[in-house]
Amino acid sequence: MLVFWLIAVAMLVLALWLVMSPLLGKINAIGSRGRDLNTEIFRAKLRELEAERDSGTLAAEQFEQARVELERSLLDDIGTDDQPPPAVANTHSNRAWMTAVVMLIAIPAVVVPMYLYLGRSDLLAPPMNPQDLQRLGGQKSLNYAINGLIQHLREHPDDARGWQLLGRAYMSLSRYHDGSLAYRHVYQLKPRDATAMADYAEALGLMQNDNLKGQPEALLAQALKVDPDNPKALWLGGIGRYRAGDYRQAAEYWQRLLVQMPPDAKEAEVVRRNIAQAKSQEQVQTTGKIAAAGSGVSVKVHVSLDPKLAAKALPGTTVFVFARAVHGPPMPLAIAKLVVKDLPTTVTLDDSLSMSPAAKLSNFPEVRLTARVSRSGQAMPQSGDMEGATGPVEVGAGKLADIVINKLVP
């Protein structure tokens, strides 16, 4: 902090000295007088004209004419010379002094507040000890604390606990990429630690828009091999299996998690509900496939992305395709989740994708279809998302609807 302000003041003094010295001090480089300069150039040009005449680029008769013109232009140049000898004696007076004083006040008065407003002087010496951070409270103190932690880890890169804290902090800020990097350090330092693997898997999953496919699932499987009862790995592993349609395994994982929890905990309730859902889905899977086909009501839609917008959509970004009743509740009746790199594709929406039994596609005759590229991965539209929609589409008519995602959500 002190060093910064010392250098800042030194630079300010240099600026002031540069501006004020010509106002108050000696002036030694005044330059030429226009008259002298143009006369000098006239002489040089006359010599060049003669050379041109000698080399033949200028015919003899034209040389004479050019010489006359040159003389005339010299008269012009001298005539327009707007520099009457400036009366320097006068300017050494009040005006120069006044200007210098104004500069002396104005430059610091502009520079310092402008820096304090635009710059981040708070980062020069951020509060480090816990009491100060506590007093500050809130998000800001967390940010400073994270910066301090980064500093600490740069010097002690072997501190697995520190990396874990850092990862957790980044995750709480939804900075998943940084979170995954921090958790990777933990994983590398403790390669046999199930929690480290589960943390890393979670961050990677969130980084790819809440998708556990690929490396995250592999990490979770490995974690459960090391520690079959690791709660976080069980929880995430269950989600991964559930999303993959492996409801039996999902229910099994969550069951293992449930037995570790106090029965009256709020979380236990959630887990219990999840298990129930997985079990019912499993049933649907075995028996209901026929039933779903039996209800036979579906809407087929072709979804594509306007090439204009294609450049702005990252391949891994989530795309929601959903149907809403033309006359009915505002909530979607059926919703499918894709990623940008799947496009263009054809999606079939039916009752198996419905959000609740009360609002099923088959209950409504006409729907509107919407496709949205969601940068946040959230169902609610946000600025920067891209959208496309159809007009009313008859449910079950068997026609292929078409959506082009071509609008930017402002």
Partner: protein
């Protein structure tokens, strides 16, 4: 702390530059020597503080300071040092800082090397340059701050765009900006002269070397860009009529017109107001080019909509600079008198024709670049303007230009008799036709109209240029004295004009005789292209500092003789998830052999793109000739002579100051 110091220095630079604008310009109007004298030290200050800011940003790149948002977006801890230094200008904010640094460097150069000019003129020039600088500094501080902090800091950066990780592109932007910004000197000289009402000999004489230097840098910058595109994009092309390229080509065309028109103004006192207008447009197009490329409008006109503040600022600033200078022009130019008189058939007229062609060319590039953007912005549909449009316009214009290029330097100033000029050029004409006929005999069925036409034109340019050069030799003086007597500017012109001929041949031959083939090859398999045998040896994985490359080994044989082993690469940059093609080229004076690695086809098969490109080096070779011509011309003694003589001339020192 360092990024904050940089930020502070940038603000200080803005402040002292404001002083550099206000005091000297008002001082010049009021004849206040002390106020005018502030210009030079303020310019020094501006340079120092911008340089400090620039150094701070570079330091943040080198030390992986990912608490600076710009660094976190454009660097990575695995990035090699050279690309950390060039990464500073890898995106919008840093490019603006580089632009400003170069502008302050030019300003400093003007402040130092203008000792013999009148103080009022120097004060106005530095004031106007300062005004441009203020525009850029404010733009940065208000909308595109390179020192924005990321809180909390990122652990790792998102890496520099892999497209920019190439030595050609690392030095391309600074050279290009040296050119762009260099035109600000010509612009400021012209505006200062208008402001003071003195479009005099001193103005024209002083503008010339500065403009030539700027033009030389711009030529070099464009050449490097073209060379980079050839190596890095894997299409084997050297120019794509892409809006980014057009953005740099427009100021070049107008700049080329400007250096020719300045020669008339300086030597003959004619075309004064026209020269001023060209200086204005050359710089306006440079500004437009910078903003077009860097604001993101070209990737999507809708980029403007996502950040309206930047777009509005750019439009307003361009409006003020161009509109303001046009108003000044309209107000002052009618009072300017051109003294040099000339007849219809004279070198002046021929140079005017050159100017008209170059300006028409620039206008059609402008149209072809902006028209699709405007249509798209108004949602009137998308059109693409590509090579067919530009070829249709450029080929006829360039044919006329090359014919004129032969006549102009042979013609006399002021007045020629048609018969004399005809006599002078007849030999050249006959010789060039003979050369073209000879080429027809050699090439036979392989020749085409375009090839013959370009041979004819290139021969015309070379023959007339060489005859002109010979005309400078006078037997009674001897060789060395003849050389010494000839101004260096003449050699510069000769060099640059020969470069045009070399360039023309390169374009025509590489266009007409190139062959290319997309092939899929298995290891050990080979393919014959234009008498060269390309044998694919295999692909291996090669780790790079921040990428993983699949590197193929391709042996090139001719009649069983090994000529070269090429190693084209396909690189994956994991941080950005981008694949890059690194073509391998066997460079030759008369032909390039170019191999780009395509996709893995499975089972060890890979697809390749093979090119045989005759004379393609001549394209850049010609451009380098022009660059050398520019250096020669700018270093002409006659500009320095004035300085040395002035140093001994009566220095005007008012009483009471010394």
């Amino acid at each position: 702390m360092i990024p904050e110091l940089g930020h502070y220095a940038l603000i200080l630079a803005l402040c002292i530059t404001l002083v550099q604008v206000v005091l000297p310009i008002i001082g010049a109007a009021r004849g206040d020597v002390r106020w005018m004298s502030v210009a030079r030290p303020a310019a020094v200050g501006q340079f120092v503080f911008v340089a400090v800011a620039y150094a701070c940003l570079t330091y943040a790149f080198i030390t992986d300071d990912f608490s600076v948002a710009y660094v976190a977006q454009n660097s990575n801890s695995a990035l090699p040092l050279i690309y950390r230094i060039s990464g500073v200008w890898g995106a919008h904010e840093g490019s603006l800082l580089l632009w400003t640094l170069i502008l302050s460097t030019w300003t400093l150069a003007v402040a130092v090397f203008s000792r013999t000019l009148t103080l009022a003129f120097v004060a106005r020039v530095l004031g106007i340059m300062g005004f441009i600088s203020v525009g850029f500094l404010l733009f940065m501080l208000l909308t595109s701050d390179p020192f924005s902090r990321l809180l909390p800091a990122a652990l790792e950066g998102q890496d520099l765009n892999p497209l920019l990780q190439d030595p050609g592109l690392a030095i391309h932007p600074p050279m290009l900006y040296m050119g762009y910004v260099g035109f600000s000197v010509a612009f400021s000289f012209a505006m200062a002269a208008l402001l003071g009402g003195q479009l005099d000999s001193a103005w024209a004489r002083w503008s010339r070397p500065w403009t030539t230097v700027a033009w030389t840098f711009l030529t070099l910058g464009i050449t490097l860009g073209s060379w980079w595109a050839y190596n890095e994009l894997g299409w084997g092309g050297w120019w794509f009529w892409d809006p980014v390229e057009n953005a740099s080509f427009m100021p070049w065309l107008v700049g080329t017109a400007l250096i020719h028109s300045l020669s008339v103004t300086e030597k003959r006192g004619a075309f004064k107001t026209w020269t001023v207008l060209l200086a204005l447009f050359a710089f306006a197009l440079s500004l437009l080019g910078t903003f077009l490329v860097r604001s993101g409008v070209l990737t999507s006109v809708h980029a403007f909509a996502t950040d309206p503040a930047r777009g509005m600022y750019v439009l307003i600033f361009l409006g003020i600079v161009v509109g303001g200078s046009l108003i000044l022009y309209a107000w002052r130019a009618p009072r300017v008198r051109s003294t040099g008189d000339f007849k219809l058939l004279s070198r002046e007229t021929l140079l005017l024709c050159n100017n008209i062609i170059l300006v028409v060319a620039a206008a059609s590039v402008l149209l072809g670049t902006l028209y699709p953007l405007i249509l798209d912005a108004l949602n009137l549909g998308k059109i693409s303007v590509g090579p067919p449009y530009f070829s249709a316009i450029f080929i006829p214009l360039m044919v006329i230009l090359l014919i004129l290029l032969g006549i102009g330097p042979a013609a006399r100033w002021k007045q020629n008799s048609g018969r004399w000029l005809f006599g002078r050029l007849l030999t050249s004409a006959v010789l060039s036709v003979l050369i073209a006929a000879g080429a027809l005999l050699v090439l036979r069925e392989r020749s085409s109209i375009m090839v013959l036409l370009s041979i004819l034109l290139a021969a015309w340019v070379v023959v007339t240029t060489v005859i002109n050069l010979y005309g400078r030799y006078s037997p009674e003086l001897g060789l060395s004295r003849s050389i010494r007597r000839t101004p260096r500017g003449f050699f510069g012109m000769t060099m640059a004009h020969l470069g045009v001929a070399v360039f023309t041949l390169g374009v025509a031959f590489s266009g007409a005789f190139s062959t290319e083939q997309d092939v899929g090859l298995a290891p050990g398999q080979s393919y014959d292209l234009s008498g060269y045998q390309f044998r694919f040896e295999g692909v291996k994985q090669v780790p790079g500092p921040n990428y993983i490359a699949s590197q193929a080994s391709v042996q090139v044989l001719r009649e069983g003789q090994l000529i070269s082993t090429l190693s084209p690469q396909k690189r994956i940059y994991p941080v950005r998830q981008m694949a890059m093609t690194e073509a391998a080229v066997d460079v030759g004076m008369f032909r390039d052999l170019y191999v780009a690695l395509g996709e893995d086809l499975g089972n060890g098969h890979w697809s390749f793109r093979l090119y045989y490109k005759p004379f393609v080096r001549w394209i850049w070779g010609g451009a380098l000739f022009m660059v050398m011509g520019g250096i020669l011309a700018a270093s002409d003694r006659r500009y320095r002579l004035a300085v040395r003589r002035e140093a001994t001339a009566n220095r005007y020192l008012p009483e009471g100051v010394s």
